[in-house]
Symmetry: D3
Subunit: 69 residues, 6 copies
């Protein structure tokens, strides 16, 4: 499957913190730095997400903001 | 200003492509890789975004998805 | 690629309306009804989107609202 | 109330899974297929959402992505 | 129609700036302050949005961030 | 830090309702009315959000919809 979302950064799951409905997935990016994703717990289970697993963090361009110091 | 959005990745503007209302800002991340942001043209002007400028790409955690191969 | 976004509805592109930065893609769902997506023009080009092409409309669950009459 | 969000698909609530803050609402679309919404638990209560209830799944166009096989 | 999105602030359209696909709608809130919405140009036309029109700015709770000085 | 998100409304935290992963923050706007934000519980802790604290509700323009009666 090829997706329109332009931002797909490779990394590895560093931690998964599960709630009742949602779960927080911390991704250590291959290039350094981290991204946190909040997705459904069902998706965590279906994708088999766990610490160490190779993943991509995916973000639609309209969801990215820009900040300057 | 300190923001609740957990994801703030440092980088530099690589390119700005302006439309009528929105603009596409390509950010070369310091850690490697790129992120594209679609923001308003007004914000591009107010922040003075142009190629080479140091910025942060900012994303709310609920907007990050996870993909596996 | 397997994506955490739970909502992936099959359909066909009905129309593409391109702006400078973004483009509007109208998708006729296989189950009936339509969905409109606003994505970057670059993604329209990279995915080769044009009327008649089989696609999926993909939506992250946190982006879906519910309404009642 | 008439809303700018272009995507409003009719269906019925199939299941509600409540967490502490958020809840997951699975909607069986009238045209076939399902959509999952993550909304606040308060909204589930205020709208009286429960299995069998007729609803609309509502999505802003800028939140819809497109995928191809 | 009653919507799950918890945030619905009353105001009046102050300005509409139309692009090709999207349009920027500036809303002067009844309580003071402004909100800018980027929606499709088609929605601007269908809702008959123009300066002076009474509207609501609507935002899903998962899209609101919090900042502190 | 200066952010591209155009909508930054001043107010005070009225209530915080914490779940496992996410938390609901109700903000009483200085101009009147309320906004509810769903953010991560970690951000609530890092920003020290509690009833009475002065904050800004921040929303990206592409996340704002418009409704008419």
């Amino acid at each position: 499957m090829k997706l329109s979302a332009r931002n797909q950064l490779p990394g590895r799951v560093k931690a998964v913190n599960e709630g009742v409905v949602t779960a927080e997935v911390v991704i250590a990016l291959d290039g350094g730095g981290e991204l946190t994703a909040v997705i459904t717990k069902k998706s965590v289970e279906e994708l088999g997400l766990a610490a160490g697993k190779a993943v991509y963090a995916v973000v639609k361009s309209t969801e990215v903001m820009v900040a300057v110091d």
